[in-house]
């Protein structure tokens, strides 16, 4: 929250010209069936698991 307030303050300084300083991208991922909005709330093991995931190609049935 504090971080967001700082972002907001820094934005107000130059809102007329530029937007988005300090604003990250949201990355939604699924763990244990549930979605999680930002990965900074994940525990270390699950972060590592997400990092290691490889994509599955479709290939033949």
């Amino acid at each position: 929250m504090e971080e967001k307030l700082q972002q907001a303050e820094s934005l107000q300084d130059n809102q007329d010209e530029k937007l988005g300083e300090g604003v990250g991208f949201e990355r939604i991922r699924r763990i244990t069936g549930y979605l999680v909005g930002t990965m900074d709330k994940w525990n270390d093991a699950k972060r590592a698991e997400e990092r290691d995931r490889v994509k599955h190609a479709l290939g033949a049935q």
Binding site: I31, G33, Y34, R53, K55, Q61
Partner: protein
């Protein structure tokens, strides 16, 4: 002569022989030997021994206790010595636990969640907030108490050392896990939340609002997630009520306009009611043939309208009523989704874990509700954010929605399209034989529904006439550390199965111990769950009754983690790598399932096998095993054990092959299962390819599955999709700025560009 002794905290206090005598006496009483006189003799001997050992200085408390043990054995009070040693060990453990508890609370209080894994244990709780910290401190205190006072020593040891993991341990003595809430029964006649009585809802908005309230009320009575098994069937009633009102209102409007009347409402009502009485049904989205004819006649009689004219007014009425109802349904569904994403009502720190199941209601009303809830999910939250809650679960069924020509095939297609963008719905497959065996057409309670996390409750050993998903749930679950059993068996298959059997027995006993605590609760402990009849048969209980019997409709589940690492430890590779290992893997899981089935029959209770979700667990077990065995390649060399029976996330395998290999485990894990495939963003957004994967899941007899793909969003320009380093829409890098003029340009091109103000 001893004058003073040194306590554990270093303080020096006056020596008092009576204290030794009374401690000895207490141990003698516990062991049923000796008396006060004997205790005094032992205390005397202890004093003599200490004086000899510490001629010049003050003895410390540990040394005195050593002498007590020694002298008790010296005198032949062996049982007393044993009691004294056990007491001493317990006190030491309790002191350590207290210190640990205080240290834990200190970490919760002082550390930022970024730095503390402890505070990120559950991703749904913000450990940085006041209520979040309160929740975590309460949880830490409850865990310490439960371990010290409620667990048998052998269960406490197995839990502490990482042989098993008792889920939701902080709630051990409080409640049960979850319920599939039959909101239709709940709504009929109205219900009480415990803080006020709510009348039966009369419009789709109220149905949706009360559905959210039902989830919110029930989640405060339980520790797990909450699910609605019949969202389509329930919302259909609300749609019907809204349509009926809209129809009457539209009809009144068109009549008044046509005839230039100020107020025709009473006459219209009379005509409508008459036609409805004749037809034997209310005006609804699709009435039986003849309904509109009868109504046209009634309008002719009431207003002198030509029948042709009346028919044309009715067509306009239907069109307006449909539009209004559809619009209100969308708003209701949007409100429901927004509600579930924003209410931090779970102990003030969590949004409830919520899930909704739908897909099989083929009435026009049910279909309207489903289409709109999917559209609301697709639209996202206020700025287009992907909804985290509820989990949507689409029930796939041949003859209902699976094949072209099925009445809800269009909704299945829409589900694929929305899931390809928003990660939900997930899909559950009613045609898989282990689900189909319960399915009775026309009785939606026999359709398998799932908790979003995967918990599945349908079979019922306790009451075989009630093999339904409604009004039931899991009581508790405990997971077994399978890789450890494999590691301790040193490639010896027979030793592995022997150890596995011991662990299954220990786990089942622990689940029964926990059930015994739960069973002694009363209806008044669960004002909503039991008091409002949400749980099966609780409506037959009185407020002061024990819930022992009705709880038996629930499940006691034994879970597991790390089949892949288990196979690697036993045989050198895992089930993704060879058909032989697949057979070995299935043999292990089948063995566990057979144990659960035998236990169920023996106890007449529902013991089920769970493919554990393992959010926090994946890291806990492996850290403990790394300390014991070090980092063994392919087994303990990562930061997590592989989820349940999954092929490891890091192992390269094609999507169809992964699904084919995991499917047979779904049939075995009757407490719940899920399979994922990971698609890249482009493939996932190809709806044909997406649907092909879902169809393959169905054909392989998967029970519950979903497709993962990256869903990123740039909050500045509102782009939703895959974002690498640079946002493909506005071109900014993460954390960097973009000129406002560029955003203004984009606003003209894309309707979902947000009016960004910095705080969301």
């Amino acid at each position: 002569m001893i004058r003073s002794i040194i306590k554990r905290d270093g303080r020096r206090v006056l020596y008092d022989q009576n204290k030794i005598a009374s401690a000895v006496l207490r141990a003698m009483e516990a062991a049923r030997e000796g008396d006060a006189e004997a205790a005094a003799r032992v205390a005397n001997a202890v004093e003599g021994e200490i004086e000899a050992m510490f001629p010049a200085q003050s003895p410390n408390i540990e040394a005195i206790q050593d002498c007590v043990e020694h002298q008790l054995m010296n005198f032949g009070y062996n049982a007393t010595a044993k009691a004294y040693i056990l007491y001493r060990a317990n006190r030491t453990y309790a002191r350590d636990a207290n210190t640990t508890l205080m240290r834990t609370i200190n970490e919760i209080t002082q550390a930022d969640a970024i730095a503390s894994d402890l505070k990120r244990d559950n991703a749904n709780i913000d450990g940085n907030t006041a209520m979040g910290s309160m929740l975590q401190i309460g949880s830490a205190g409850a865990k310490a108490y439960n371990e010290m006072y409620l667990l048998r020593p052998e269960h406490a040891k197995a839990f502490r050392e990482g042989d098993i993991y008792i889920h939701d341990f902080d709630f051990y003595h409080m409640t049960t896990t979850c319920t599939q809430i039959d909101i239709l029964s709940l709504f009929h006649g109205g219900f009480s939340t415990g803080h006020g009585y709510l009348r039966e809802p009369q419009s789709i908005q109220s149905y949706a609002a009360l559905a959210a309230i039902a989830i919110q009320s029930n989640q405060n009575d339980q520790h797990g997630g909450q699910s609605i098994p019949n969202f389509d069937y329930a919302m259909a009633e609300g749609v019907a009520k809204t349509y009926h009102k809209a129809f009457y209102r539209a009809l009144t409007d068109v009549i008044e306009d046509q005839l230039d009347l100020d107020d025709a409402s009473d006459a219209v009502k009379e005509a409508l009611t008459g036609a409805e009485r004749t037809a034997g049904e209310l005006a609804k989205l699709e009435n039986k043939p003849g309904f509109d004819g009868a109504l046209a006649l009634a309008l002719h009689n009431a207003f002198g309208l030509e029948t042709d004219k009346a028919q044309s007014l009715l067509r306009r009425t239907r069109s307006r009523a449909w539009k209004r109802t559809d619009h209100e349904t969308f708003q209701a569904m949007e409100g429901f989704v927004h509600n579930l994403n924003t209410m931090h009502s779970r102990a003030g720190a969590q949004t409830p874990f919520s899930s909704i199941n739908y897909g099989t209601d083929i009435t026009p009303e049910g279909r309207m509700a489903m289409r709109n809830v999917l559209l609301a999910l697709d639209a996202g939250l206020g700025h287009g954010e992907t909804c985290i809650f509820p989990i949507h679960i689409f029930k796939v069924k041949e003859g209902v929605n699976y094949n072209p020509g099925d009445p809800n095939y269009d909704l299945f297609r829409l589900s694929c399209k929305v899931s390809a963008r928003r990660l939900f719905p997930n899909f559950t497959f009613l045609d898989s034989p282990y689900n189909l065996q319960y399915y009775v057409p026309g009785r939606p309670e026999t359709e398998v529904a799932t908790m979003g996390c995967r918990t599945r409750v349908i079979g019922n050993v306790y009451d075989p006439t009630r093999q339904i998903s409604y009004s039931r749930g899991n009581l508790s679950f405990t997971s077994i550390n399978l890789p450890r059993i494999a590691l301790e068996s040193h490639h010896d298959e027979a030793a592995f199965f022997k150890r596995l059997d011991e662990m299954l027995e220990l786990t089942a006993q622990q689940l029964l111990d926990r059930y015994e605590i739960q069973a002694q609760k009363h209806v008044y402990n669960f004002p909503f769950l039991m008091g409002q009849g949400v749980w099966l048969d609780s409506d037959k209980l009185h407020v002061a009754d024990e819930i022992r019997e009705v709880l038996k409709h629930g499940t006691l589940s034994i879970g597991f983690i790390g089949l892949a690492e288990t196979l690697t430890a036993l045989y050198g590779h895992h089930h993704g790598e060879s058909a032989e290992m697949q057979e070995k893997g299935l043999a292990i899981i089948r063995h566990m399932r057979e144990y659960c089935d035998r236990k169920s029959q023996a106890m007449k209770m529902n013991f089920t096998l769970l493919a554990t979700p393992a959010e926090g667990l994946s890291g806990k077990f492996i850290r403990q095993d790394q300390q014991r065995y070090g980092k063994i390649p392919g087994i303990t060399d990562r930061e997590y054990y592989t989820n349940s029976f999954h092929i490891p996330v890091w192992y390269p395998i094609q999507a169809f092959e992964k699904i084919r290999l995991e499917a047979p485990y779904h049939a075995l894990c009757n407490a719940g299962h899920i399979s994922y495939v990971e698609l890249d963003g482009d493939t996932a957004r190809n709806v044909e390819a997406f649907e092909q994967v879902v169809r393959w899941m169905h054909d392989c007899q998967i029970g519950y599955g979903s497709i993962n793909h990256p869903v990123d969003r740039d909050p500045v320009c509102g782009y939703v999709g895959v974002i690498g380093d640079v946002c493909p829409r506005c071109g900014r890098r993460e954390g960097h700025r973009v000129p406002e003029s560029r955003i203004e340009e984009l606003k003209k091109l894309y309707p979902d560009v947000v009016a960004f103000r910095g705080i969301e």
